[in-house]
């Protein structure tokens, strides 16, 4: 099945040929599609800088890196300079990385295939993103391997110049951007300071901002426990405060995330508010200690939507937009390890801090249920605190189980609505399984917890709790029931006498799954075109004749007693038909045309009889 294209946002194009790229067009595409906002230019520059420092550290162990950002000038002269003391570029590097766009990304892919990659960035594309905020990029660079210092000047139309500088710079790279008028707010010192912290909070070397003659070490407070999350346990207040600064939410709880290899880890902050199942998961992920994504979705298992995480890793490969990771085996492994860490955090709570866990479940029941469905052990651990809607109200499962009764459950809200009144009148314990995961959890419960019985309840099965009418007594109603059955036949329904509560409820209509499908087919068929009606007709002929619904006549009800004890060829069928449509209305079923007609005619007829009885009486008098 193909999705409506107007709803498909990401389409994959295919092309086997090489094409000429219009660079200004490409930049448009970059800013609108690849990157979520122009502000990512700073992230890209930071990534290039940290890549360069990583490379130099590999060549010179013990080397101390540093990133400096300087803001100078105002108005049209407002300029940002980003400098690193990393490996720098030789003239050959410049040609390789900058002359051919996308080159560096190919290298990245190759490196991935080779198993290891120490560069985050695709240098050229990263630099290009700067055209979203600047009409010119100037880069001065000196390679640590020697050679002359170089200057590269690029314009958004794709032209650039390279020249050798006469002076010798110290190794590293400086990038100068002159801001365009509509990008001025990305160059404001306060904004830049926050952004640098945001991207570089975890970097193991200083990030320094100069502006208005003031120098500020942006990431001086990168905490040691972040790299060894187990140590975070004893520092609750500090960890929560750091989470608030970086993620912008007032958290009250967290779970440390660790993996066996130690190459990925972090902190999972428990969201302080309930989350919708379809809400985007947005975890903050640092690759090589540099922020790579603020909305990574696929790094944690699906069920883990109750946390917002701060994660660092050096083993995953980002996608082109660098906001997610490539879905591969490595990611799967990391995801399941992080999931295990979360699960373990919850398990520890279940064991020793049940109050803390209960508080969490009250807020994030859906997330807990999502995990419980997949993981029986976890379900066994937390089942008693999971909330369900039932005929005894909105209760925790432990409370519902405490009476030792069979737990009946429906699979849809519709089924529950049909029967919950009657079921609770018979004091049956029924759980509404129409909410996501609930019926699955109910079905699984006996396998997970000992001495609990659960049973799926179909609407037509609610009658099993009714009292049977003894055969001898039933025999008295034989004629009335025959009349009733033949009146109901055209609705594919049959009558049954039972005793049930409440006594003022004369009749109850129930239908099996097949008869429910049949009803739906008939209803649609009435409204549809001739062609589709006939198609639906052939489909209903394929449904077994078991598709009969039932009208339960309540022997405890005085009107029903009168109907049953005084059969009348003329009156009984009409009374039964009226009781039938009454039951439909009581059950909030949508009626078909035939049923509406019965209702209309019935009302008129009863008015007529009522009036006639009245005049007859007057005549007598």
């Amino acid at each position: 099945m193909c999705l409506d294209q107007r709803k498909v946002s990401e389409m994959t194009a295919s092309n086997e040929y090489r094409f000429q790229v219009n660079l200004s067009g490409m930049i448009q595409i970059l800013s609108n599609h690849l990157y979520s906002s122009p502000k990512v230019f700073l992230r890209e520059l930071m990534q290039n800088a940290t890549d360069a420092i990583t490379a130099r550290t590999e060549a010179e162990p013990g080397f101390q890196g540093e990133v400096r950002v300087e803001l100078t000038g105002t108005g049209e002269q407002l300029t940002m300079m980003v400098e690193d003391n990393g490996i720098g570029l030789t003239e050959a590097d410049i040609h390789e990385f900058l002359a051919m766009i996308g080159q560096s990304s190919k290298r990245g892919q190759q490196a991935l295939l080779d198993g290891e990659t120490s560069f985050i960035g695709r240098f050229g594309i990263g630099l290009l993103s700067c055209f979203m905020v600047s009409h010119e990029i100037v880069m001065l660079t000196q390679s640590a391997k020697g050679g002359p210092s170089m200057e590269w000047r690029g314009k958004p139309d794709g032209t650039y110049t390279i020249r050798q500088l006469e002076t010798q710079l110290s190794p590293g790279t400086k990038v100068y951007l002159r801001c365009t008028p509509d990008a001025a707010h990305y160059f404001e010192p306060e904004y830049v300071k926050e952004a640098l912290f945001y991207y570089g909070a975890l970097l193991p070397y200083p990030v320094i901002l100069h502006s208005d003659g003031v120098q500020h070490n942006v990431n001086s407070e990168s905490p040691f426990w972040l790299m060894e999350p187990e140590l975070a346990r004893g520092r609750r207040a500090e960890v929560l405060a750091f989470g608030e600064r970086l993620l912008g939410e007032k958290f009250q709880d967290f779970i440390p995330l660790t993996t066996a290899s130690g190459r990925t880890g972090g902190i999972a902050f428990v969201l302080p508010h309930a989350v919708n199942l379809n809400a985007k998961r947005s975890h903050r992920v640092y690759l090589k200690r540099m922020l790579i994504s603020e909305k990574a979705e696929n790094i944690l298992p699906e069920w883990a939507f109750f946390v917002k995480c701060l994660i660092w890793t050096d083993e995953l490969q980002p996608t082109a937009s660098r906001e997610h990771f490539y879905e591969n085996e490595k990611l799967e492994e990391v995801r399941s390890e992080l999931g295990d860490a979360l699960r373990k955090g919850l398990a520890d709570m279940a064991e020793s801090q049940t109050e803390r866990l209960q508080k969490l479940i009250r807020l994030h029941a859906l997330s807990m249920k999502a995990l419980a469905v997949q993981d029986q052990e976890f379900y066994a651990m937390i089942h008693r605190w999971l909330p369900f809607e039932s005929t005894r109200g909105h209760r925790e499962l432990g409370e519902l189980m405490s009476e030792g009764e069979t737990l009946y459950f429906t699979t849809t809200v519709d089924e529950y609505r049909q029967i919950h009144h009657v079921a609770s009148a018979q004091s049956m314990l029924v759980i509404n399984g129409g909410y996501i995961y609930d019926s699955d959890l109910m079905a699984m419960l006996p396998q997970v917890v000992q001495h609990v019985q659960t049973q799926r309840l179909q609407p037509d099965e609610v009658s099993m709790s009714f009292t049977d009418v003894p055969p001898a007594e039933r025999n008295q109603y034989y004629d009335a029931l025959r009349l009733a059955d033949s009146a109901l036949q055209r609705f594919r329904c049959r009558a049954e006498v039972k005793g049930f509560k409440p006594a003022d409820l004369p009749v109850l209509f129930t239908l099996s799954q097949e008869s429910s499908t049949l009803r739906a087919l008939e209803k649609a068929s009435e409204e549809s075109t001739e062609l589709f009606s006939s198609v639906l007709g052939s489909l209903s002929s394929g449904i077994s004749s078991a598709g009969y619904s039932a009208l339960y006549l309540n022997i405890n009800n005085p009107i029903i007693q009168r109907v049953l004890t005084s059969p009348d060829v003329q009156m009984t069928p009409i009374a039964i038909e009226m009781l039938y449509v009454n039951a439909l209305m009581m059950g909030h079923y949508a009626m078909n045309r035939q049923e509406l007609e019965v209702l209309n005619q019935g009302i008129i007829r009863f008015i007529d009889w009522g009036l006639r009885a009245n005049t007859d009486r007057k005549g007598d008098a």
Binding site: R417, S528, T529, L539
Partner: protein, 351 residues
């Protein structure tokens, strides 16, 4: 206690859920509330959502019922509703209808003409008509007719009502599978396998369809890779029951133990499935797999869902295989009768 939710609550609840049975239940309840209260536009809106949700989570009957209602309402007051969404839904319905053997061959053709006439009346490209003619002909086993329609639709221009390229490519691949040209299957699959074409259900479907052609060509390593990746994408999803069948078909020959995992993990989806064709294929391949597994691991007790309607001993694999095979063959007979050929039963020749 909140038991009677109103229309807006139900729709909000539904929009907050991923595609699945729970979402469908909420939407159906919303449609019922709208019906009972005479809110026709709301009832139409809920049904639009039902059609899409049901289509993408394996409930073709529910989709058809909701769509039929919508089409009737639309014809009465076309100015009141959006025709593009409805016509897009028509494609889904048309693509699924042949799975119901009760719908006769004549009816199928009549529906196709109705579809074509409507598309023409809205000024959409005729390509969609020919593309669906191609698909329906394949379903009915008219491979020659499918070939003609294939040539025809490929020569026409796409428009915004055309299925996406990935979906089309997958159908083209299916055509080469049906005519038995495995080399051409691989060729057609190439852009999908290379990741150049993809959509909501592609490559999910492709990665299972390609397994048997690769097997027949002796490319087991490649097939194994696709099998693992494909299964990861579809596991536990109700709308890929036919893909599980394809996986079992392949695994029965190469790795029956893994095949048994696929069977046990997904039988619960197949047993209540609304698409009788997908269910038939699942049961057929399950039978083949169980026979193979009985040889390899006699005495194994298959884990069946508690509600599975099989009275016999789950440890008697040959008997269980017969049970699955009997169901599949009975279903295939119905298709053969409707199609007037042996197209479907010949797919099950090894069962």
């Amino acid at each position: 206690m909140k038991t009677e939710m109103d229309f807006e609550d139900l729709m909000d609840e539904a929009y907050g859920l991923p595609n699945g049975t729970a979402k469908l239940g909420m939407l159906e309840e919303a449609a019922r509330v709208a019906d009972v209260n005479g809110m026709e536009e709301e009832a139409y809106e809920a049904r639009s959502e039902i059609v899409e949700t049901a289509t993408f989570c394996g409930y073709p009957m529910k989709a058809l019922i909701a769509f039929s209602w919508q089409l009737g309402k639309f014809d009465q007051q076309p100015e009141r509703y959006d025709e593009e969404t409805l016509m897009w839904s028509y494609k889904w319905i048309l693509g699924e209808l042949s799975s119901f053997p009760e719908v006769s061959r004549d009816k199928m053709m009549e529906l196709l003409e109705d579809f074509g006439r409507r598309f023409k009346s809205f000024g959409y490209s005729e390509r969609s008509y020919w593309y669906y003619r191609f698909r329906i002909s394949m379903d009915l086993g008219d491979l020659e007719e499918a070939g003609t329609s294939y040539t025809k639709f490929r020569s026409m221009d796409r428009d915004f009502m055309s299925d996406c390229e990935a979906c089309e490519q997958d159908e083209i691949m299916r055509y080469w599978i049906l005519v038995g040209e495995d080399e051409k299957v691989l060729e057609a699959a190439k852009p999908i396998l290379k990741g150049r074409m993809s959509c909501a259900e592609i490559p999910h479907l492709t990665l299972s369809e390609i397994l048997m052609p690769l097997y027949r060509l002796g490319k087991i390593n490649e097939a194994d890779k696709h099998q693992a990746k494909g299964y990861r994408m579809i596991k536990g999803h109700n709308d890929f029951v036919q893909s599980f069948a394809e996986q079992m078909d392949y695994l029965a020959r190469t790795n029956p133990a893994k095949g048994i995992d696929v069977l046990e993990e997904n039988i619960v989806l197949a047993m209540d499935h609304e698409d009788p064709f997908a269910k038939m294929m699942f049961y057929a391949r399950a039978a083949q797999l169980l026979r193979r597994w009985a040889d390899e691991s006699p005495g194994y007790r298959l884990r069946l869902p508690a509600s599975f309607p099989y009275e016999g001993d789950p440890g008697d694999l040959p008997k269980l295989a017969d049970y699955f095979a009997a169901y599949a063959k009975a279903a295939a007979d119905k298709y053969d009768q409707r199609n007037g050929n042996q197209h479907v039963s010949s797919m099950l020749s090894e069962v």
